[in-house]
Symmetry: C2
Subunit: 327 residues, 2 copies
């Protein structure tokens, strides 16, 4: 448990693009202090530290993980390193916020959670969407039954990028593929709102490296509700989410995973635009949530609990290993 009278001391492991975005939002948070960063590339970590006025910069992950000044580490390395880097920090009694997906298979995620529990330190998957006031508001609206029983959800996340076998996105060794990289957002929304599906049917398109370039899924639930999910590196989609209930509809417009507004259409009423707070790029709210968890001495997030991370990876495993394959 961290004393509420002091700031939570954050370290960032990995100094790439996402680390920069996260650091900018950290600086906006009054309860956070960015104290350390690390990259194997010393120039990268030094430049990062200078840019954000960070006291400790490392070029050794091990030294970083042993640094007593750090309360909580944000893991921002490529997918395939998440496990190794999380375990290193957790074993050094550092709380960990690890970029999603936590790992590339369920067994690895289970091991990571086990190590967090054994070491009694906080651990959470960086599904920042889960902490956004907009998503929390939507979830509340739905849980209150305002749009009735959920019948159908659609969510898409597609962008177009040229095929490059050396890019992280297409490299199976770095946990590439559209599902793991972006399909996790549509999947998260359906999991949040409908829970674990009863059946999962998937079609994927594959590229030469063996990862999926497009992924289309039909998830079916106990009550007959369905979710139609789509992710792609081959085509530009609106990145929207539509939620259909028996009494109305919610649409989260473009870039639904980081949006600060939604449209509520209740049967017989005119459409309402509901706006929510969003600070910085949106990571701010995740940071604030984690600080709160640490002040309370929690080892698990109540917004993004272990169960949710296990469900996410279990479904993604099933999707990748049982899909119809095309190339």
């Amino acid at each position: 448990m961290i004393d509420r009278n002091r700031k939570v001391k954050w370290g960032i492991l990995g100094c790439g693009k996402i680390a920069h975005k996260f650091a900018n939002d950290l600086l906006l948070n009054d309860n956070s202090e960015l104290v350390a960063c690390v990259s194997r590339d010393v120039e990268k970590s030094t430049a990062f530290a200078e840019k954000y006025n960070i006291r400790f910069s490392f070029d050794s992950y091990e030294d970083f993980a042993r640094c007593d000044e750090i309360d909580v580490v944000y893991i921002a390395t490529p997918n395939s390193y998440h496990k190794e880097h999380s375990l290193l920090c957790l074993r050094n009694k550092k709380a960990v916020l690890c970029e999603k997906p936590l790992a590339t298979n369920k067994a690895d995620v289970e091991e990571m959670i086990k190590v967090a529990q054994e070491n009694k330190v906080f651990f959470m998957e960086a599904m920042w969407t889960s902490c956004l006031p907009n998503i929390i508001s939507i979830n509340n609206t739905i849980q209150k039954g305002i749009i009735g029983e959920l019948i159908h959800i659609t969510a898409d996340f597609g962008f177009k990028t040229g095929y490059d076998p050396k890019s992280r996105l297409f490299d199976p060794n770095l946990g590439g593929g559209s599902l793991l990289d972006i399909g996790i957002y549509p999947l998260y929304i359906s999991l949040l709102l409908l829970g674990k599906p009863k059946s999962i049917r998937v079609s994927m398109r594959y590229c030469e490296t063996g990862v999926d370039t497009s992924c289309s899924a039909l998830l079916s639930y106990e009550n007959g509700a369905t979710a139609a999910l789509f992710s792609s590196f081959e085509t530009v989609t609106d990145i929207k989410c539509e939620i259909y209930g028996t009494e109305g509809k919610i649409v989260i417009p473009g870039r639904f995973h980081e949006q600060n507004e939604y449209l509520l259409s209740k049967q017989g009423f005119s459409e309402q635009l509901i706006k929510s707070e969003k600070v910085g790029l949106g990571y701010y709210h995740e940071i604030e949530h984690i600080n709160e968890c640490l002040y309370r001495g929690e080892v698990e997030s109540f917004i993004m609990p272990f169960r949710m991370s296990l469900d996410l990876i279990e479904i993604m495993d099933e999707m990748r290993f049982k899909s119809e394959k095309f190339s």
Copy 2:
């Protein structure tokens, strides 16, 4: 073959809601003459005839079918009567435009086509969407490769109506259910643009009468393209269609099946709104197409050929008999 110097003489079998809409569009067409109508309810057929200034009105389908004044009959009775009424007219050498779905199973559709061929008369399913200039323009744009290779299609058609076991929509004996009633439109679009799928996965919600109240399908194609289709009597959707290609996107906005415009977003260009002609409610274009077929002496439509009707019913059979069922 009908002489181009005279009007095509139409008869309408069934005088319900859809018959009224169709009659209004017929009156707009210079090459058409509405000469006869029939309903078992003599008051209904008399009123219909008076309203549209129709020379012959019948209360016997048999007498109507034998009337020499009629070239082509529009069948507008409930789904479960389509076969009986089409066969009656075809055997009396009348060309037939039959409301969709042609029948409620593939064997019946095959029989109807066989009878049309034996009697050498024109026969077509009233998939009027297929004749709309907007849909023809979209199909041309896609066939020309303007949005690249198709990756994914979504199409929905949902409205909300209270459960009423006596309503045509919920009555299995009248060919009820969301798939047969409205799901045929999303399915038609995917068939038109992507052809016959390699695999079909479906989840349906059922009501007490045994018909589906919502239907969600994932169709997968040889090249890995997918179509996510949804129809429902339980929730209001936009009734839109989105078509994603490797080089761009086409969106047909609300009530896509009768729309007269679409949005084309080509990679790297600004979005274009493309408008098409639409006369009357849109049935006009179907009427015009059939007149043309009859002037040419065709027995099959080149826009909505037998193959398309067979594929539609074959897929709907598979969807209904092989779906995961929920109630």
